[in-house]
Point group: C2
Chain length 256, copies 2
DNA sequence: CTCTATTGTATCAATGTGATACAATATAAA
DNA sequence: TTTATATTGTATCACATTGATACAATAGAG
């Protein structure tokens, strides 16, 4: 998958505000920052309205009888088909004016979503989650009536975003950096097996800095959670790197 | 202040549900874990309803045109009179059933708060903050109609709590431990000047473990943020410890 | 003046890390 | 077959941090 590939999904418009208010909490929403790693870059999943040049984070609402965490999981499952995603609450975007983005208002109007425009622009306190996924394995769908484009975007090339989503992503990245130092979570971003250079490039993408190869390798091996398997060679005229995987039993004993 | 001293504050009952729904977000609340340090222990501020044996965290609601952060600050200011408190958002308690605590329901009924009982027991997503204060300087007040007792409680002696407030406090403590490792925040819990043994006892109270005296002192001094002032002696027949204060200019340069 | 309790500081070993060098390996080219 | 090249695996040195421990300095009590 290249970083510019997108999916176009036509969706019927049939929800209205009364229906939303009946089934969902009115003041609260959810936004998820989906991270994935491919092409040696950390990517974030962004959505776009056909009527806007701006992108936005995926999100949803909370059913009246549903936990907020459940709603976040449901939202992700609807989009990805997966129900076992690493998901972490990391922030609440609660500014009163955050939903009053003129670009969003404009886009909603153009889209002809009168029946739900009020709902979408009413003030919402957004509970923000970040999720770690292995994107090449994903077939993405959106259920919302207003989304027409889905794009994995490298975090250093983010386009203009609606609402306060730029800040939310910034906070998600900072939190991901903290968590990768304290927990064994790179496993959620990688394939089952991987080489040391691959793991290093993931860390470099997350922390946005170069790391010294030999020292990185030593640090990872000293964690004593990697299991060395065979070797994998890319055909180049050089030594083949070992393949590793995270040792499940040892990971459990460590942190998380 | 001893750990068992309490304040009794009679408050008139005059709010009703319609009024609340008109001015406040209906699905969201705020809870604050106020930490303070005295008598060599980390304390949390708890409130109690006269009609219940259970305690609860202070909290409040968010005005419709008010940021969530603003609401948290306002809530603390109403209670403490201070508007410059160190305050950190750290969690969202979002379980659907969290406000359905039979003990709370029972207590609200006994209190004769029919007009607002529904509001108080309706489902709320709670944005949780922790705050650091220097408690001996505080004169505490509560504006809510339902609170009759305020108590600083050592974190290792927490009484039965309403709702999910025990879990919220646990998460606040864990977050405080993480933050004290990464930021210079002990200053908010101490007086302007303090001795090294005092600082050490604060750390021991927060991390709930004994620390080696000489190593702790070395670590703190190596941070290069402490300014040594005079000495302070307690009259005991032993060497007097130095007085320190955090060097404001150096703290700014460091983290936070 | 000695004793005792506490604080300030030094020392040593173990550990972790940045910088650097060098050995091992897989292929291409000579 | 040999040599060159690119990359990975590993070792080494210097340095900083930290736990454990020892010892020196100080302020009274007796």
């Amino acid at each position: 998958m290249t970083t510019t590939e997108t999916f176009h999904i036509p969706i019927p418009v049939h929800v209205d505000e009364t229906m939303m208010k009946e089934h969902f909490l009115t003041d609260v929403s959810i936004n998820s920052v989906l991270f994935s790693y491919h092409d040696e870059k950390l990517h974030v999943l962004l959505l776009r309205l056909t009527t806007s040049d701006h992108f936005m984070l995926p999100g949803g609402f909370i059913k009246k009888e549903e936990d907020v965490d459940e709603a976040a999981i449901r939202n992700l499952e609807e989009m990805t088909g997966l129900d076992q995603i690493y998901l972490q609450q990391f922030y609440v975007a609660g500014n009163a004016g955050r939903t009053c983005d003129p670009n969003a208002l404009d886009a909603f109007k153009k889209f002809g979503l009168q029946k739900i425009e009020q709902w979408l622009t009413d003030r919402k306190v957004s509970v923000c989650y970040y999720a770690l996924v292995n994107s090449p394995e994903l077939q993405l769908k959106v259920n919302e009536a207003i989304i027409c484009e889905i794009k994995w975007t490298p975090v250093e090339e983010l386009p203009p975003l609606l609402f306060d989503h730029q800040m939310v992503i910034d906070k998600a990245i900072r939190r991901l950096q903290l968590d990768m130092d304290r927990k064994v979570i790179s496993t959620y971003l990688l394939n089952e097996t991987f080489t040391m250079p691959e793991l290093q490039k993931l860390y470099e993408a997350v922390y946005q800095e170069k790391l010294t190869r030999s020292n990185f390798q030593r640090r990872m091996l000293n964690l004593d959670i990697l299991e060395r398997l065979g070797k994998r060679h890319d055909g180049g005229s050089h030594r083949a790197p070992y393949l590793y995987r995270f040792n499940p039993s040892k990971i459990e004993m460590v942190l998380n």
